[in-house]
Symmetry: C2
Subunit: 246 residues, 2 copies
């Protein structure tokens, strides 16, 4: 028996998110089905990040155990032949049998993209949130600085979430222009439910001048979801990579 780690990329547009559910196709469900068919065993993957419906990934991670003689690094090729074209395995590799993708210390990087122009751009509509309200990049950059570091991010967590602690460490949070898009790139060891999208929604309010950059301090201190900006739409969010320590 060996444990195999997959680096998984997907276009989340037509999926009901990562996690298996009854009403709709999910990334996890398709991986389980295609892996089980390929390997002739019942496979159930464990995912690193259970991304929401409509969220994209360039490098999510899943692990599973198998008795298959197929070398771990060849599973990517065989599995990609079975997967739909909006899901691909970027890499497959053998890992320690004790490796767990959510319990091992990691650094996750997400990008939130905003297409800010008078009218939407069709080729970007599925991967970037469109808004015609202009935004001031330098205000967003000023506000972002207050969120870097270890804070109680309770105000940036959707209320339905049940977690032991809402303290998280944001290792970096950069806001920059790339072509016609604004990009919010954030790296941290872990994020609360909807945290990146609430950070994006709050920074957009700052960019529009509705919230002053320094008010972000007050929003953190409030420890109240109502104090922060709205949850930005899913399509603008992409899980770029997960880097494991060890």
């Amino acid at each position: 028996m060996k444990r195999v780690m997959l680096t998984v990329a997907y276009d989340g547009t037509r999926y009901h998110g990562w996690q298996i559910q009854n009403n709709g196709e999910t990334i996890e469900g398709i991986l389980n089905r295609c892996l089980s068919e390929l390997l002739g065993e019942t496979i159930e993957v464990i995912g690193a990040s259970r991304t929401d419906s409509g969220v994209h990934a360039m490098g999510n991670v899943a692990v599973f155990d198998t008795e298959s003689p197929i070398p771990a690094d060849k599973i990517s090729y065989a599995l990609n032949r079975r997967l739909p074209e909006d899901i691909t395995i970027q890499r497959s590799q053998q890992v320690d049998p004790a490796f767990h993708p959510r319990h091992t210390v990691s650094h996750k990087t997400y990008e939130y993209r905003i297409y800010c122009a008078p009218f939407p751009m069709p080729v970007r509509r599925l991967y970037s949130h469109f808004t015609y309200v202009p935004m001031d990049l330098s205000l967003m950059q000023s506000a972002a600085k207050y969120l870097v570091g270890t804070h109680d991010f309770k105000s940036f967590c959707s209320t339905q979430a049940q977690v032991e602690s809402t303290i998280r460490q944001v290792e970096s949070l950069d806001v920059f222009r790339e072509g016609r898009e604004l990009v919010i790139r954030v790296t941290g060891r872990g994020f609360l439910y909807n945290m990146v999208r609430i950070i994006a929604g709050t920074l957009m309010e700052v960019g529009r001048g509705y919230i002053a950059p320094e008010e972000v301090v007050r929003i953190l201190e409030a420890k109240d979801r109502q104090a922060a900006g709205p949850t930005a739409p899913a399509c603008g969010l992409t899980l770029v990579q997960i880097v494991y320590e060890q």
Copy 2:
């Protein structure tokens, strides 16, 4: 009566190209239908570039004449409400009644994008041509230099095309890396049928080492479609902009 110019952006994935045809939806067909409904007149647009099936645009141009009292610059807003989300008007403006989008001197810029990696990336699959064969950027850049300027591009024109002259001027042709993609950006006053995709297909062969950069001179001199590389797939091509002189 006034003549209105539209700057049109679209995701070409699900269309049978620009030009109206019997078997399938086209950009031109949808524009005519939505404009006719909006303005209560029979509208037939004249397009600048009749892009192929699957090719995208950020700034194609179409003109039409109308008796409508709607100000030309407001037509974009009204029309976008009727168009599907994979076609948007970026701008509408009144132009001289004699303006013709194909007979007026213009500078067209196209980008051909190549995603070169071991496996495809789902979020780029519709907008970038995937290949796992590595390419040498500097070889492609060397070859590109030979194509800049005024040449007989007969070798870079699909044979079914009937044109008076195959001499064209390539004003610039740059090859560069952008993130994980190679981008071929070309600007010229006009292009032959499939010319940009044949240039892209030829530069890819150069990048793979199958054609030496200086052989491009011989390919031009051959004036024979068989001498050049293959026509690169449509999905990698985007018409970025058309700038009119005057």
